[in-house]
Amino acid sequence: MKIAICVKQVPDSWAEKKMVGGRLDRESVDAVLNDLDEYAIEEALRIIEPLNEGKETPEHSITLISMGPERTTEAIRKGLSMGADNGLLVSDAALAGSDAIATAKVLAKVIKDGGFDLVFCGTESTDARMSVIPAMLSESLGWAQLTFAGSVKVDVATKSVEIARMTESGVENMSATLPCVVSVIEKINEPRYPSFKGIMAAKKKQIDTKTLIDIGITASEVGASGAWSEVLEANPRPAREKGVKLEDSGDGGTKLADYLLEKRLV
């Protein structure tokens, strides 16, 4: 089985983000591996490791796939240090400003060409926060969509995959056969920290970097000019007015009630 995991490099999700000229300012904050993608890596490792256990030449592998600027290799390297086997980065100046449609197109193309049977994703990139790429990959590839998984079971012999989809609409058990696209929620596992050995090993792992020409996509289909939607304007929201903060000295509840009633909030 060849698993691809789509990972994105994002501005540190713990940092405050800002926009410059209609785009996210990626320079002002540290770039990290999207933390929601770590759950996908962890889950794939948990599926693959027992299968490869004790094998001289492992038959199952994990490739991390990303689209982004050159420095995205840092995020890929982090995933390799967790235990993935190799990486593939699609990087091209013409990709700047791509929308979800273009991202899905690029990722689907390299997944198709790479001969994978299973794709893992996080449920959301913490910068774009669209939660659409996994579904769009499944649409582009024509593969089964098993997304928002709170648990995943893969049976290699029968090629069947079962998940429990966990969303605000409740829990749904669903199944499909390979190939499929799975996205996992953050409650599924606790991602491992890379070990020292893992970090050393990752330095020697291969990351292929490809341009649009390499993967056979024309520049006009992607990037800001190829986008099907455009940002007209982006403005900081006026800061919230500073509120009242009071120490409870026995009447905090009463004061809170007064505030709510006075403002006619209750």
């Binding site: 713990w14 405050e16 983000k17 800002k18 926009m19 929308d99 979800a100 449609i101 899905a104 449920t123 959301e124 926060r129 669209m130 659409v132 579904a135 769009m136 499944s138 649409e139 024509g142 593969w143 089964a144 969509q145 098993l146 997304t147 966990m166 605000e168 609409s169 409740g170 749904e172 058990n173 669903m174 199944s175 499909a176 499929c180 409650k187 986008a227 099907w228 939607s229 455009e230 940002v231 007209l232 304007e233 982006a234 403005n235 929201r237 509120g243 009242v244 903060k245 009071l246 120490e247 409870d248 905090g252 509840g253 809170l256 009630a257 709510l260 009633l261 403002k263 909030l265 209750v266």
Partner: protein, 317 residues
């Protein structure tokens, strides 16, 4: 005027409050047409749920394969309706399901997609609130039929009349859209309280409740509020995950949000920062939630909440 399709969200029996909101947005940009994807025999009752909204016309698909095969099947049905109706836009409520349907549909019909809009104007330009509400973005789809998902409670639904037309539409779900089989589904446990995304008031508990949501729930019941929880509380199993507010939970934007024993981590703020008024009760004066709060009480939630409840009760009496 061109038709603006909107997908009517429902739980199989009842139409969600978002349907009326989408109808109102649709009316701004054209003629609202509600699309109902339902199991056989359920369509008419669901269509009746659109009476009194800004929508005059409903298209009803009764096809059991949609519930059985999930998102791809819903997209298949919608794409066929789009092809027949040639609307100027498709509006869908923002939820995990809504956004996934939107993304796939956009690819299939060759239109751009915008998610999580909080406003849509007559020209189908959208407003989004990004990075936890710190930036407002105006955007527009420039290719194909726009597919736009809209956050619940972004608008007060207009009041209209009874539907004048309900048409049954039959669709053929393609084999390629039936690759997933749903074997079992459990809807979220609904207590008597309002839905998180529909409520005017949300009161949430975090790690500070120490697993005891009694005070939070008692206040919720007095105020007719929905109950939310931080991830710390849902991870601990104190409250169902369907109630989680934040980046990986629900985004809420009520008139009043009361955070009890919640520190205000950036991932939590991402789901509640756009609430109109924010109240926080926390023992720790340094808790970041106070940076957002219009009214903050530094104190023990188990003392503050019951006292506030009694005070509200007695002043109302």
């Amino acid at each position: 005027m061109a038709n603006v399709l909107f997908l009517v969200d429902h739980d199989g029996e009842k139409v969600a409050k978002t349907a009326g909101e989408l109808a109102t947005f649709a009316k701004r940009a054209g003629t609202p047409v509600g699309v109902i994807l339902s199991n056989s025999g359920k369509g008419d009752a669901l269509a009746a749920g659109l009476n009194g909204t800004d929508c005059d016309r409903a298209l009803v698909v009764e096809n059991d394969e949609i519930a059985k095969h999930g998102i791809a099947a819903a997209v298949s049905a919608l794409a066929q309706i789009v092809a027949a109706q040639q609307p100027s836009a498709v509006l869908i409520a923002s939820s995990a399901r809504g956004k996934e349907i939107a993304g796939r549909l956009a690819l299939r019909i060759g239109g751009g997609v915008i998610t999580d809009a909080i406003d849509v104007n007559e020209n189908l330009a959208t407003t989004q609130s990004v990075f936890g509400g710190s930036f407002m973005v105006n955007a527009k789809v420039k290719v194909g039929i726009p597919v736009i998902t809209i956050r619940p409670s972004s608008i007060e639904a207009g009041v209209g009349s009874t539907l004048s037309s309900v048409e049954k539409v039959s669709v053929n779900i393609d084999a390629k859209d039936k690759t997933v089989t749903i074997t079992n589904s459990q809807p979220p446990v609904k207590g008597g309280r309002p839905d998180l995304t529909e409520a005017k008031i949300v009161i949430s508990g975090g790690r500070g409740t120490n697993g005891n949501f009694g005070e939070v729930e008692a206040m919720a019941d007095l105020l007719g509020a929905a109950v939310g929880a931080s991830r710390a509380a849902t991870d601990a199993g104190w409250y169902p995950h369907t109630h989680q507010v934040g980046q990986t939970g629900k985004t809420v934007s009520p008139q009043l949000y009361i955070a009890c024993g919640i520190s205000g981590a950036i991932q939590h703020r991402a789901g509640m920062q756009t609430s109109k008024t924010i109240v926080a009760i926390n023992k720790d004066p340094e808790a970041p939630i106070f940076d957002l709060a219009d009214f903050g009480v530094v104190g023990d939630l188990f003392a503050v909440l019951p006292q506030a409840r009694e005070a509200i009760k007695s002043k109302r009496a």
